[in-house]
């Protein structure tokens, strides 16, 4: 017995020591990086290495940050291209990077379920966290049955009660961008004018797009859309549309047969001519429903992430929303 | 008298352990031979060599005039394995279904058994006094009844030689008597029997001679010692 205890004990001790050493190096590098950012106060001459290191949670945050921050910041997106962000978890590499980061931009409202845990576990106490959706009025994520019982409401309260897809409303997106701009100004006041100018430019574009949406969508006869998952709540509120999601607030599994029947009946009753699917999720269910009713399918992008191809082609929030508008108009005008 | 089985200078070893060392034996037509020996002396190994499942290190085994390696008419050899061996005691098949399986070479690959195959199976079951149990599942049979079905399975192809590996192990005394009497009957009808057994005393009255495996070799025994 003694013979076996010693190797077991020593391996346990070895692992603990390694873990301890590991944390020490991480925190020391975090200290050194915060030191360098302090010394790199823009009162001196700003250099490449002294730009803010910003990590954004997923694509829209990345896009807004880049729009405002321009070339004064280093922005890295955490959720990789082509990956669905709802169930995504940061890896140990991501955590190591966050230890060395200056700013973490996330949307909030329950979208990034990992944020509290991760930020709490970091030793990097100088990390500035930006909840982009702060101040935005949140909607409740709701079921689609009109006969919603009190019990359903309570169950929802227990999970994330709110619809986290705030960025899909152009007006909200502008507000998120503003929150990000304010945070950048606070962290890097020397470049305030630059950030303000960028923001103003894009705010104007967002307003123009919003107007376009309002004009084109209000003229349409049909106001109901069937989508892959309930990602378009805020957009629907902005323009008087109704969404019916095949899946709920997060695209994680397939509907059961009763739900399938419900969606099909709903689509038939509301004269829906297109079933929308998403880039990042398998279109099988959408196709099954579409073929049942005899309508077509099309892609409506909830802007939860872009694929490698889209990024390479230089797409951004605005270009994708323009495409979404065209798709919506094409489908709803019948 | 015809020589059915001949073992000449047979040697066999598992890795470095020698099991059989220059073993010689002869089974003649009409014999009822008991193979005895303490545990681990290689009785089951000998059977597996006779059935061509193991290859000898050296020496020759001849079955029905043909060397074992080239022998192809295995239906002429009926084999009843040890109880609790690989055969499923709880298999849901009926006695009739199991016995029919044995007629494989007649039914042929990928074909369904015909009426005549099933009739033959029933006949074999009747020969072992299990005719009334033809539709009984194996799991519903006692140890002795199960063994009789296995014997019927070996008999269905009308073999010349019947090889049994400890057919009475784990079976109650009454069923044992029935089994031995059955075997004696079959022997008297012309089937040569080679039976590995532990029971010298009980089988003594049925067999016509014993072969004892001892010290890696075989010798003939007339109910005495080697």
């Amino acid at each position: 017995m003694k013979k076996q205890i010693i190797p077991i004990l020593s391996s346990i001790v070895a692992v603990i020591l390694m873990a301890g050493c590991g944390t020490a190096t991480l925190s020391s590098s975090a200290d050194s990086s915060s030191l360098s950012s302090q010394t790199a106060e823009p009162s001196q001459s700003p250099e490449d290495a002294n730009k803010l290191n910003i990590y954004t949670s997923f694509y829209p945050m990345y896009d807004f940050t880049v729009k405002v921050g321009g070339d004064k910041v280093n922005v890295t997106n955490l959720v990789p291209a082509g990956t669905e962000p709802h169930d995504w978890e940061p890896s140990t590499t991501d955590l190591a990077n966050l230890e060395k980061a200056d700013v973490l931009v996330y949307s909030g409202a329950g979208m990034e379920h990992w944020v509290d845990k991760v930020v709490g576990s970091l030793t990097n106490k100088d990390l500035v966290t930006v909840e982009a959706s702060k101040g935005i009025t949140l909607q409740e994520g709701h079921h689609h049955d009109e006969e919603e019982t009190d019990q359903d409401e309570d169950e929802h309260e227990e999970e994330s009660a709110y619809d986290p897809h705030v960025w899909i409303s152009i007006r909200n997106a502008k507000a998120e961008m503003e929150n990000i701009k304010n945070a950048l100004v606070q962290a890097d006041p020397d470049n305030t004018a630059y950030y303000e100018e960028n923001y103003a430019g894009y705010a104007k574009k967002f307003d123009e797009l919003d107007q376009k949406f309002t004009d084109q969508l209000s003229a349409l006869p049909n106001k109901t859309i069937v989508v892959a998952h309930e990602a378009f709540g805020y957009l629907c509120s902005d323009y008087g549309l109704t969404q019916m999601g095949i899946e709920g607030l997060s695209a994680d599994s397939e509907p059961d047969p009763a739900r399938m029947a419900e969606i099909i009946r709903f689509a038939r009753d509301n004269n829906v001519k297109t079933i929308f699917f998403e880039e990042l999720v398998s279109p099988k269910t959408a196709e099954a429903i579409a073929s049942e009713i005899g309508v077509k399918t099309d892609m409506l992008n909830p802007l939860e992430g872009l694929t490698e191809e889209q990024l390479a082609a230089g797409e951004d929030y605005l270009s994708v929303m323009e495409k979404n508008l065209a798709t919506l108009v094409a489908s709803l005008k019948e | 008298m015809k020589q059915l089985l001949s073992i000449q200078d047979l040697c066999f070893a598992y890795d470095k352990e020698i099991i059989l060392d220059h073993v010689n034996a002869e089974i003649m037509d009409g014999d009822f031979v008991g193979v005895i020996g303490s545990n681990g002396t290689g009785k089951s190994t000998l059977i597996r060599l006779l059935l061509g499942q193991l290859r000898p290190v050296s020496g020759k085994i001849t079955i029905l005039g043909t060397p074992v390696g080239q022998f192809r008419e295995w239906p002429k050899i009926g084999y009843v394995p040890q109880v609790g061996g690989d055969a499923h005691r709880e298999f849901p098949a009926t006695a009739k279904e199991i016995v029919t399986l044995s007629e494989f070479s007649d039914i042929r690959f990928m074909r369904m058994p015909r009426r005549r195959h099933i009739d033959k199976a029933v006949q074999a079951l009747k020969a072992v006094e299990m005719g009334d149990y033809q539709n009984r599942q194996l799991s519903a049979l006692s140890g002795g009844q199960f063994q009789r079905v296995m014997i019927a399975k070996a008999l269905v192809n009308e073999p010349k030689l019947l090889i049994l590996d400890e057919p009475t192990s784990g079976i109650d005394a009454h069923s044992k008597k029935i089994l031995f009497r059955l075997l004696k009957n079959l022997n008297q009808q012309g089937i040569t029997i080679l039976m590995v057994t532990h029971d010298i005393k009980e089988t003594g009255q049925y067999v016509n001679r014993f072969l004892e495996l001892k010290d890696q070799t075989i010798c003939e025994v007339r109910i005495g010692e080697c």
Partner: protein, 280 residues
């Protein structure tokens, strides 16, 4: 009836019933070869194939089939080395498969696609999948009939079968292939987590009532079809996930059979007791 007005439900029933016919055929043999957990091992390994497919942009069902086939042959190879502990070979392969699936799942872009293989996707069957299931069903059913007695003999006593002239290695090879293909296709529709139960539970049910090997096969199919049909019905009208509903229906059926058997036994015993006392 309302449930059959929908094309997707008709497809679900068709696919479900076809699978309910072929899965128990594999199941009967697998149970008696003492490989009952093979459905689990193969279906979990198929997830590694699914993940690989989703990452590498191949059809994940094809990925599942390749992984399943590899695993099935791996199990057969290990079983030959350690025949007394056939179950261990399954556990070994399952560990390898699940471990690989775990690592690969970290690289899968879309969790929903992966999830649909865990729990099945019988409500959204594409035309490709329908054709696949029909083809596989015909092949498996055909082979099972062709090798009916060979498979029975091998499951009963492989050595005896070999001695009687059955081409055991060939039949085992084909059966392994059939098992792999069936599991990977079934995992797609009823879910990898459920396949194993569909293989074993209907067979367990049939052993309660069957009086011969042939009856065992027929009853296994009957119980599987029954569980599937009832399960789909209940899932539709109560809004439940079909995979789990089908399997639980099967389990409930099994308990019901146990209960009925116990009651019948007791009834018979009491009846014979009464006759006994009357006789004296």
């Amino acid at each position: 009836m309302e449930i059959f007005e929908f094309a997707f439900m008709r497809k679900a029933f068709l696919v479900g019933i076809l699978l309910a016919v072929i899965i128990p055929c594999i199941g009967v043999i697998v149970v008696f070869k003492r490989l009952s957990m093979i459905g689990d091992a193969l279906s979990h390994t198929s997830l590694a194939g699914v993940a690989a497919g989703l990452i590498g942009n191949i059809n994940p069902v094809v990925g599942a089939m390749i992984a399943c086939t590899g695993a099935a042959f791996g199990i057969e190879a290990i079983r030959k080395k350690i025949p007394r502990y056939a179950e261990m070979s399954i556990a070994i392969m399952m560990s390898a498969g699940v471990g690989l699936a775990g690592i690969l799942s970290g690289f899968v872009p879309n969790a929903a696609g992966f999830n649909s293989f865990l729990f099945g996707s019988i409500v959204a069957i594409s035309d490709f999948e329908l054709k696949l299931v029909v083809t596989v069903s015909i092949i498996v059913a055909g082979c099972f009939l062709l090798f009916y007695k060979e498979l029975c003999y091998i499951a009963f006593d492989e050595n005896s079968a070999r001695l009687s002239g059955v081409p055991v290695d060939l039949v085992n090879f084909i059966f392994t292939l059939l098992t792999a293909v069936t599991v990977s296709v079934a995992a797609r529709t009823v879910g990898a987590l459920m396949v194993s139960s569909l293989m074993v539970v209907p067979v367990a049910c049939s052993l309660q009532v069957a009086k011969s090997y042939r009856q065992t096969v027929c009853w296994s199919i009957t119980f599987a079809v029954l569980s599937t049909g009832v399960g789909l019905f209940v899932a539709y009208y109560r809004g439940l996930k079909p995979g789990g509903t089908i399997v639980l229906t099967g389990v409930l059926l099994l308990f019901l059979l146990f209960f009925i058997k116990a009651v019948v036994k007791k009834f018979r015993r009491n009846a014979s007791k009464m006759v006994g006392t009357q006789a004296t």
